[in-house]
């Protein structure tokens, strides 16, 4: 997976390649979850993150992908999760609440900066034709 990303960006910026090798940057889905959780703040949990991602991307977000990625992010120390109190609107079931940690914020901002830098001059950011 890392090599696939390297091939994609390898010709663009050597610094980005070094970043991928040394830091093992987060994936795009991980970024989506971190950003949604950060935006939602105290109201960040499985269903609300899923709703945010689906609204932002216009694509379905499966619970399987969401929860396994949340586990991965938690294992990396980028988010902290815990079970909340049961609520009536959820049939008396608890939420898995999510909070982005300081290192999670740092990773997400690194990802955002890399994406912004690497996107400079790309045809879809300058409205140029996509083919030469």
């Amino acid at each position: 997976m890392v090599w696939g990303r390297l091939i994609l960006i390898g010709t663009v910026d050597r610094r980005e390649i070094m970043y991928y090798i040394v830091m093992q940057m987060i994936g795009e889905f991980e970024y989506l979850i971190l950003t949604s959780a950060a935006r939602l703040g105290r109201d960040s949990y499985g269903a609300s993150i899923r709703r945010e991602i689906e609204e932002a991307t216009g694509r379905r977000c499966s619970i399987g992908a969401l929860y396994t990625t949340l586990d991965r992010l938690e294992a990396k120390g980028f988010v902290k999760t815990w079970m909340g109190e049961p609520t009536p609107e959820r049939g008396g079931r608890s939420k898995r609440l999510v909070e982005v940690t300081a290192s999670g914020v740092k990773e997400a901002s690194n990802f955002f900066r890399a994406i912004t830098r690497i996107s400079k001059g790309a045809s879809w950011t300058t409205n140029r034709p996509t083919t030469r």
Partner: protein
């Protein structure tokens, strides 16, 4: 208990029981969170089923990417299932022969013969010890499996059951022995007429009996051992002594596996042959779990008595 999403039009009443059933494969806390998310956010009946099924599949398959599981399978689960299957097959054939001799050829006149009772006593003792030792080996194996990390324990147990059944189906011990002898360049024993043909002709003795032995003397004790291994006694002495005893038992079981003597040179094989009576007695030592259970039972009895006295 399991509240249905009555106010949620997105998940139908028909699909909700399926969602609930599928979610039983998830950890309790995750199940709570996922069902709550589905009630709150919905996603349609089929969507909800697909979502829960997707998560269950991801969770169940994730463990197979864990290297620790494969180390446990290679070092513990595979050898254990193979050896237990081999010993269980021996016990099953012994049981089949004895049962056939008495049940299928019963004659009341025999009971008047002193020799009949002598042989019956000897056979019952022999078979009883074989069964007890097999159950204790299985329990010891399960006990060691129970010490595996929780994350890989369930998958290890499932792999064990699949391997055990496969070895039974494929008559693996005898085939592996033949393969081993072939690669070692040892002459294969010539085909001999099946002296137990009348017994193996009976489907009960040929098919059912081995499975009954496997279930009763291997699978059940292994499950009990796993449970015990997961809840080790609190004292450090027991935490050290019990695993060591279990490991020694399994090493002794190795000596009873088919073709064990082929692992050694001629001199060692001759020594094993000369001391075969002592080697055959070794498995008796493996019955320590019986003593352990008796000690635990006695301890509980004494504690109960003390509580009543207070």
């Amino acid at each position: 208990m399991d509240n249905q999403p009555a106010d949620d039009p997105m998940i139908s009443r028909e699909s909700w029981p399926v969602v609930l059933w599928l979610s039983r494969w998830l950890e309790q806390s995750e199940r709570e969170a996922v069902l709550g998310d589905l009630i709150e956010y919905g996603g349609g009946g089929r969507g909800a089923i697909a979502n829960v099924l997707g998560l269950v599949v991801r969770r169940r398959t994730a463990v197979f990417l864990d290297w620790k599981l494969w180390v446990a399978v290679l070092l513990i689960v595979l050898p254990l299932s193979y050896l237990l299957s081999a010993v269980a097959q021996t016990a099953a054939s012994l049981g089949a022969v004895y049962s056939w001799m008495y049940l299928n050829n019963w004659d009341w006149a025999l009971t008047r013969d002193a020799g009949f009772w002598y042989v019956l006593r000897e056979m019952a003792t022999n078979f009883g010890i074989t069964c007890m030792v097999l159950a204790c080996w299985s329990w010891s194996g399960g006990f060691l499996m129970g010490l595996l990390p929780k994350a890989i324990l369930r998958a290890s147990r499932n792999v064990f059951i699949v391997l055990l059944a496969s070895f039974q189906f494929g008559e693996a011990p005898s085939r592996v022995l033949q393969l081993w002898m072939h690669f070692r360049g040892l002459p294969l024993s010539p085909p001999i007429p099946d002296v137990n043909a009348p017994i193996t002709a009976n489907i009960f003795y040929r098919v059912l009996c081995p499975w009954i032995v496997l279930a009763a003397l291997v699978a059940l004790p292994v499950m009990s051992g796993i449970r015990q291994g997961r809840s080790l006694p609190s004292g450090w002495k027991m935490r050290v002594i019990l695993p060591i005893l279990a490991a020694i038992s399994l090493l002794i079981m190795l000596t009873q596996g088919p073709g064990f003597d082929l692992l050694f040179g001629a001199a060692m094989r001759e020594w094993l042959w000369r001391n075969r009576n002592a080697v055959q007695m070794l498995p008796i030592l493996c019955c320590w779990p019986m003593l352990y259970f008796m000690a635990v039972g006695f301890g509980r009895y004494r504690r109960g008595k003390a509580v009543v006295a207070q």
